[in-house]
Symmetry: C2
Subunit: 371 residues, 2 copies
């Protein structure tokens, strides 16, 4: 009995069987062996704050209880931190979940949605999943192009636009005035998803002041990167209360783990830990830049916890990055590269611990010298 099947919606029926990313565990299963270095998912190599780990151990006694669906204590902490009201914040199981809710809130089938060509695949996945029509704008000199994005929004009458600052996968960033000019160039009825997952690693002038009086702008932040909690699934959105309220009509209210809420609050109590992570990531980026220079590659300036390395400077093709990616995988190194030309001339390497960086340097150097 395989036919007839349940009638999925036309939209779902028509979607490709795609996923935004193949996880490293799936790659390991395909290879039949593990990776020695896991530097492909921009996870933190520096783990949890000891205070967060301790909070989790303590909260295990209450792991049988649902988390507060309002995450009120955490929202209150974050509201104070960012100088906004508590009803201008909502917690989600990572930015991925929040992106899904936001796309759903404003996108009807056929609606144009603007993003950069080669930017975050999970955003595109959500847009396609809700029937939106992706309108992509090329990167410009390895940066997302705010002017181009704003033009596309106006041209298409889009109601949704995505911009990551700093950017993934290139690690590039814009200073706040550029973002503010971008916002000024947008119509009044658009929703702007400003993905700041990597903002802790960026220069202080990369983030414009948070202004929840502008109902168009949603700031997306996460505990997955600098706070080292990707495996706990917790992030948040800061926006005008009307946007937070709309999200509350459709979000999965009991979706965020109680453990993660406790860990996030404890990590906020440990700014010294996060500052240490940020400093060590900056050292790691410098090391990767030096490594790239030694190999006649070019590391792109990065404001994130990863570095995009152009492995074929002057040529611009993607053949060498693909070859290196495969050789690195064979040698036990999991990294990724951007998905779209011309970004895919680069490999993208997350900053590991000092020993991981040294080992990566050895392996990459060995591969390049043997070519």
């Amino acid at each position: 009995m395989t036919e007839p099947r349940p009638r999925f919606t036309d939209l779902v029926q028509g979607l490709p069987a795609t996923i935004p990313f193949v996880g490293p565990e799936a790659l390991e299963r395909r290879r039949g062996r593990g990776f020695e270095l896991r530097l492909g998912a921009n996870e933190s190599a520096f783990g949890l704050s000891p205070l967060a780990a301790e909070a989790i151990r303590r909260e295990l006694a209450r792991a049988a209880w649902y988390g507060d669906p309002e995450a009120f204590e955490l929202c209150r902490r974050l509201a104070a931190l960012h100088g906004v009201a508590v009803d201008e914040i909502v917690i989600g199981a990572g930015i991925d979940e929040l992106l899904g809710v936001l796309v759903r809130a404003v996108t009807s089938p056929g609606d144009p949605v603007v993003t950069s060509d080669g930017a975050y695949p999970t955003f595109n996945y959500h847009v396609t999943g809700f029937g939106g029509r992706l309108v992509t704008v090329p990167y410009r000199d390895d940066h997302e192009d705010p002017e181009g994005l704003a033009s596309a929004v106006r041209r298409e009458g889009a109601r949704l636009v995505y911009l990551a600052n700093p950017d993934n996968p290139m690690g590039s960033w814009h200073a706040a005035p550029v973002i503010q000019r971008f916002l000024a160039a947008l119509p009044a009825d658009v929703l702007v998803l400003l993905d700041e997952a990597y903002v802790e690693f960026a220069p202080a002038d990369a983030a414009p002041p948070i202004d929840t009086a502008d109902p168009r702008v949603v700031r997306l932040r996460t505990f997955s990167k600098a706070h080292g909690m990707a495996g706990l699934r917790i992030g948040y959105a800061i926006a005008h209360a009307a946007v937070i309220q709309a999200m509350g009509k459709i979000r999965n209210h009991f979706g965020v783990s109680r453990i993660a809420q406790a860990a996030a609050m404890a990590s906020l109590d440990d700014p010294g830990f996060v500052a240490g992570v940020v400093a060590e990531v900056a050292r790691g980026r410098d090391e990767y830049a030096e490594l790239a220079a030694r190999l006649d590659f070019r590391a792109l300036p990065s404001a994130t916890n990863f570095v995009a390395i152009d492995v074929d400077p002057g040529n611009g093709g993607s053949a060498h990055s693909q070859k290196l990616l495969e050789a690195l995988a064979t040698a036990g190194v999991f990294i990724r590269r951007p998905g779209i030309a011309p970004l895919d001339r680069c490999i993208r390497v997350s900053v590991g611990t000092a020993p991981e960086r040294a080992r990566f340097a050895d392996i990459l150097t060995g591969i390049v010298r043997a070519q």
Copy 2:
């Protein structure tokens, strides 16, 4: 600058600002003080398996890593446990999240969706959130009415129907043959969400054999109840591979915590722990039944980790349950009652630990004696 706002979809714009449940933490904030007894959310009073707690402590070293989006090792364990293929299982952040994905997969705006009047509010929340039109069938003698549900599906041409077995909020259940007759009475192109969140607490004959050859049926299971992991957010669906594949087109692939995956696997390694929880819950149900009898109430037979107690037998009104609920809250006890008449003549009490049950008995008896 508050107008114009971002243009939410007509659907979202038209939704009420509602949530499926107000959490106990929110109630505590309103009261200005905590509850002494938390017996209102059908959480486990018996916590995590020690093996699960140990697995979490171990996995904290990798909390900075995303969880496997395929949760392959866990799916493999569950597939073996249930005698299905690994591509017939998908993990989610609890049944709540899986319900949202399933509703979205088959529901277009205006589509009729069938459930029982007074059944799980979060299912209704998702249906409304995706524009479905809820068609509700009354309970019959405090049981969901499979015949009535099947009739409604046929009458309305519904493509989606929800049935919880055992049921929440009444705790009642049907034996497998009743469920099988229900399935036989349904058309070939409907999707049946069989919510078995409480199945571990039910008599062995309550669950029909799992048959993934029937593409209409999705079995929903969770680690939130018997396994004591509501605060970790992990559940799963068992279904025909075509259904799992459709869910894979739209689900949040990186949404389940790595910690939760590790804990779930460890808990599966500890069936003795779960059996102990189930046995203690059965004792607790008996105690609640005796307590009810002493107070001239009537405890409904339950196949879950909670008991619905008719506090006004012979009358059937909801005034007494409301009065008791308020008096219990004043006395520091968090419980809930069903939302719809005539079910709301009952209060619904989760099985606590032995000391919690004794304390609940004292408080309830005191309130009733003082009336």
